[in-house]
């Protein structure tokens, strides 16, 4: 019996070793049931020990022989040497230095970004929704990689929204080419792919206090809490998802000043004129560094223009609202000439990532920007109608017709952003309020850029100064010139056929000579 057992002893030991490996694998993969790794370990150990018991002489020889001494020595040396390499690599990974060799330092993050990354307390995860053929993906991944290198709290992942639509739905993503920043329950998305955009989103999502957006009330303005067709409930929810706290503010009831937590105040198309005292309060707040979004619909024919109360305040910032309706027979929403459609945007912080999106503005008024702008004020046109449009001033007639005496020819300004660097004041004026009302947003869904335009405006208004200092790097053009078919053939045949043949010829020559 014992002799039999002694014969199979090597097999027992081999089985034991396999069991030990299995135990390791089960442990790594997190096996269920939990006792499995321990059981495998135990049985494996027993089998290996039994080999020692059955063949004590071999074991003794192996442990004391010449081979054992040399082998043990070599093993010990190897382990020590590899251990040193592990330590070196551990230290090298912790205290490393990166050299950005690119000419315009593409991968060198700004000091502000590094500060924001260093101050992260909780992990932030970024999910990018891109289709695989989206060219922006590799660029933004380069940048995200640098962020991840700088902070072990920063991770990112890319999701193909067509392959995993569930993931997109879970995060409330409706369009492609978007990055969602998450910290715990908080989320923040951005369409911008520059360092400025990423750091700004990172800062927003890592901040605990919420910034407050106040919508004025008391003059039949659009209500961000209501889901009536003309109200702003949908866009209010979008702002909530962007980590803003949306509240209402009645200027008539507040006694002294505007609440200090107001990041942005929105005046969304009042139907009843503001009282002069209310306008004064807003005016004062704005001139002291306040941030205001004004949405102004065209006046109702025959009634007083409720926006007239703001004309004095707006004039100080170089804006004059016209009493007209923008008509564009060439570029309009499904042939409705009173709903101008805008697909091209002048370059600005608000519109820079709207390229390729379409926005439209049902019944909008136009505005005039003073030239030159008032002292210390920067005026930027956000939206412009086409050359073929005009501002219809005869608001009572059924048929819109261009009247050279009264109407102004396009291009006309539909929205403007106004900034005073010195006072830190920011103002955005739209000649329309319907473009983000519930009925419009629920009928067009994600197909149009209306909600993004509104959001970008709020984000720009609520922006902190610290972040504006990250100047975007000039776009780098590192491409091949358009090649003629002859040039392409030269490159193809040269590199695929000529070059390898040259090497083979060289080999042939050497072989011939030796022969």
């Amino acid at each position: 019996m014992v002799i039999r057992l002694r014969q199979v002893a090597p097999h027992l030991a081999g089985t034991g070793l396999v069991l030990l490996l299995l135990a390791l694998a089960a442990h790594i993969l997190g096996s269920d049931p939990r006792w499995l790794p321990e059981a495998l370990l135990g049985v494996g150990a027993v089998l290996i020990i039994s080999y020692g018991l059955l063949r004590p002489r071999e074991v003794a020889a192996a442990l004391t022989g010449r081979r054992a001494i040399y082998g043990g020595n070599a093993l010990l040396m190897s382990i020590a040497f590899l251990g040193i390499l592990v330590i070196v690599n551990f230290l090298a990974a912790r205290y490393h230095k990166r050299f950005d060799l690119t000419e315009n330092k593409r991968y060198t993050l700004s000091q502000q970004t590094i500060q924001v990354l260093n101050s992260l307390q909780e992990p932030v995860k970024v999910t990018g929704f891109f289709t695989p053929d989206d060219l922006r993906r590799s660029d933004v991944e380069d940048l995200l990689k640098e962020y991840a290198y700088r902070s072990d709290k920063f991770t990112y992942e890319f999701v193909d929204p067509e392959q995993r639509p569930g993931e997109a739905r879970r995060l409330g993503v409706t369009s492609y080419g978007v990055l969602v920043f998450q910290r715990g329950e908080k989320r923040q998305e951005t369409f911008g792919m520059d360092e400025e955009d990423l750091t700004s989103a990172l800062l927003k999502v890592s901040r605990d206090e919420q910034r407050v957006i106040y919508f004025t009330t008391g003059h039949k303005e659009r209500d961000p809490q209501s889901f009536q067709p003309l109200d702003y409930g949908n866009i209010g929810q979008v702002l909530g998802r962007d980590n803003y706290d949306v509240k209402s503010l009645n200027l008539a009831t507040i006694t002294t000043t505007i609440p200090s937590d107001a990041a942005v105040i929105v005046v969304a198309s009042p139907q009843i004129p503001f009282a002069p005292e209310e306008v004064d309060r807003l005016d004062q707040w704005l001139s002291q560094g306040g941030r205001l979004l004004l949405l102004a619909d065209p006046p109702v024919p025959g009634a007083e223009d409720p926006m007239a109360a703001f004309s004095g305040m707006l004039a100080k910032w170089g804006v004059r609202l016209r009493s007209d309706v923008a008509i564009d027979p060439v570029s309009s929403f499904f042939g409705d000439a009173a709903s101008p459609l805008i697909t091209r945007f002048p370059f600005s912080s608000i519109t820079k990532d709207l390229g390729g999106l379409t926005t439209f503005f049902p019944v909008a008024r136009t505005m005039e920007l003073t030239d030159p702008p008032p002292e210390g004020v920067t005026l930027t046109r956000l939206l412009e109608t086409t050359q073929d449009s005009w501002g219809e001033t005869n608001l009572t007639s059924q048929q819109a017709r261009y009247d050279p005496d009264a109407d102004v020819r396009g291009p006309l300004v539909l929205a403007a952003m106004i900034e005073s660097q010195e006072k830190k004041s920011r103002l955005v004026v739209f000649g329309d309020a319907d473009f983000v009302s519930n009925n419009i947003l629920s009928s067009v869904r994600g197909a149009f850029g209306n909600a993004d335009l509104f959001r970008n405006s709020i984000n720009w208004l609520a922006e902190e100064e610290a972040l504006i200092a990250i100047s975007p790097k000039p776009p780098e053009v590192r491409t091949m010139q358009p090649l003629t078919p002859a040039q392409r053939n030269l490159i193809f045949y040269g590199s695929v056929i000529f070059l390898p043949l040259l090497v083979l010829a060289l080999g042939g020559a050497v072989w011939w000579q030796r022969r």
Partner: protein, 240 residues
Amino acid sequence: MRNIFIIARREVEAYFVSPIAYVVIAAYLVVMGLIFALIVAGQPGAEASLRFVFGNAFSALILIIIGPLLTMRLLAEEQRTGTIELLLTAPVRDWEVVIGKYLASCTVFLAMLAPTAVYPLLIERYGNPDRALFFSTYLGLILLGAAILSLGLLTSAVTQNQIIAAFLGLGLTLLMTFTEFLASVVGAPLSDVLSYLGLFNHFFDFLRGVVDTRDIVYYLSVIIGALFLTTQVLAARRWR
């Protein structure tokens, strides 16, 4: 030093008198030329860099395959014919043999990369490249290739059979490559280690023009570690 040089020179000559080196280099150039022509000249407005030429799965695979092919013979052949005994009893140290043979394989690898210098010249001629990227790309390629060769040399020391050596080398290199995929399966502390071990994880920054000291340290560690183990395996012949 002199011994290393003599051994390296003898091996380089052995490589280049046989047609194998030329065939391997030519085959490599055909594949890389095809990738280069398709990626850089094949689509209008392509990026003027070698990033997508050397940074795609085909280029990685061909390096993984060619590496062990270049090293498989070095020690396995000498063990099969018994000439290793002569070498090991000659007045040279084991590590001199190992480094000499290793440097020879690196020389052939450099000879394989050298003709690809035509690509940057063509990009320069027909595009607007950032030249620093060429430098970092080749630095990364040389380090990566040298690491693969050191792993191949190690497997060439453990067997007498060239083919087995090549397959072991291929397996070891693939293993070092796949750890980064394993990393996404397992949990936190282990996944960091596994993704750090990934042979190609340390390569991609070079392609973008970013040179990180930890990537360099990683490749040098793989090379030194593999060469040390190779020396130990050879030394084991004395007491086995």
